[in-house]
Amino acid sequence: MISPTALPPPRSVDDVVAALAAENYVADRRLATSVYLALTLKRPLFVEGEPGVGKTELAKALARALQAMLLRVQCYEGLDVAQTAYEWNVARQMMEIRLAEAAHDVGDAASRERLARSLYARSMLIERPLLQALTQERSPVLLIDELDRADEPFDAFLLEVLAENQLTIPELGTVRAAPDAAPIVVITSNRTREIHDALKRRCLYHWVDYPDLDRELEIVRIRAPGAPERLAAQVVAFVQRMRTLDLFKAPGIAETIDWSNALVALNAFSLAPDNVRDTLGVLLKHRDDIAKMQGGDVTKLLAELQATARGEAPRAAPADAR
């Protein structure tokens, strides 16, 4: 998957759209522009948006398109240097000490100094994604996923890596990425907290919105190829309409795809009140939302959709169109 020779970077926004499309990622032009800028200006890309709109998928598709290595840091509270950047191989260090002792090699100051140096040699270091990202021969894609889940100290720690492409290890010194192999950084956030301004300032910002009807339909066609055209169109129209309702958590694209696949698995060829009600759990993850939809909204929405579908059909009888 990772080719030894570097691929030429995309030369225009259109290139980016095409490259991502080749990897089954349907990007709108605004997003493609941000990606293109991130590649050209060599700045991290900060993507924010509701869960399930394809933020993580973007980084994966980008890595495939560039045939670059994908390094991923999944954030959670309390994430620290040992899990993200590097860790000393303590077991090996202990062994080293024990061996030095056994060889009676710790007697004088010089041998101690030698031991200390060997304990903190580069080979004793276990590299984690952030450090790996700085030591590759070719630019990898570094995905820092759901940064909002990490706590503030981690934001601060990231600053050095993002701004300078370097990492300081107290015992060893500073590790710097080669200028032509600096990582392509994609940071995602679901916005469960505000990320610090200092960090955002160093990034390109992009808010990923829900896609419009055409784009979502295109995505469903690609990601749920089993769904008949008619079903896919209905599903997308239904979900799009649903997002305009006052829900706790509107369904994302991921949910649309899951739902299409679920309906296909149930051998549904079109939406009906019954199969929609049975599968609402795939689409909505909030009890109140499901209760609200089951309380009559499903039938209403379906009727509404059918009415518009008939209204748009060229041969629709005037009596049918409400």
Partner: protein
Amino acid sequence: MLADNVVHFARVLRHAGLAVGPDRVLAALEAIEAVGLARRDDVHAALSAVMIDRHEQQALFDDAFAAFWRDPKLLERMMAELLPKISGRGDRANKPRSHRLANALAPTPVGDAARPARQPDDQIEFETSFAFSDRERLQRADFESMTAAEFELAKKLAEEVPLPFAPVRRRRHEASARGRIDLRATMLAMARQPETLVPRFSRARSELPTIVVLLDVSGSMDRYARLMLHYVHGLTRRYLKVHTLTFGTRLTNITRALRHRDPDLALELASAQVQDWKGGTRIASCLDDFNRHWARRLLGANAALLLVTDGLDRDEHGELTRAAEQLRLFARQIVWLNPLLRFDRFEPRAGGVRALLPHVDRFLPVHNLASLADLGAALRSAPDARR
């Protein structure tokens, strides 16, 4: 010249309250150079990627962009001017337009994340049509400026009085005398003295959670709200992880205003934002609004909620109960400070009080809250155990 225009555009955005520093102007120029000027939507996307950093600013940015780069000839001219050695004056024609925009947007406080960028529009609509609700009486907040003594007291209170919240254990570790063995620190010690083995320990850090203050500013809360704001300002200055929202008939996030060091300036900014001061109360709809739009953003990471309200609202159709139940699921701990109780024997009479009470962890009734000192006494006397 292109640079002139971008600089000018950045100034417009700055007036509109976006934090667009010179670094962003430089980045914007680079970005435009990278995407070229062939397509307007590319230029828009490029500038927006560089110049904004939160979603709320998008609408404002879009408006400003549309207004500023409106003249279709302008782009062509810019393209011509991108070629070196052609110097021309910046486009004068668009200046009045952008100034008007800047003026229209100026009242929005700096970098205001708290409210949707559309807010200035709403505000204008709102003030012209009073038909919104007869229960809602609009009144600008009238925070008298703090006296020096009050300021000192608020500061002392925020510094000395323990908060009525239980600390939460973080997953981040810190060195301590006992706990889990910290291998890395142990190794470092051993490298210095190989013949000894002294284990070093670390344990999970325990600290105060993020605090979200929901402050009722309706008519019945009038006097107490002002006191509370003074206290919360002191708190915000001492302890950064405090978010403050006021509610009466609508929710307003005044966190950024309260971050200003100068209390008078902070309260002035806050009062400019709060529109429903001394109006009616709609606790249920405000809590519901909070649940839908803010809870997930502010109440992550074990946050605690300080609810300051008298609870004087009805619980129509169980709406308040539902909102409170929901809030309970989002917040790790809820402390309710009720300043309106003038009697020692508390009886939850009002429907709102009855609806809220089962869903809070601690209930802090304050008798006769007339000064910050009373508030301090109430917070101090709060029993430590969670209910």
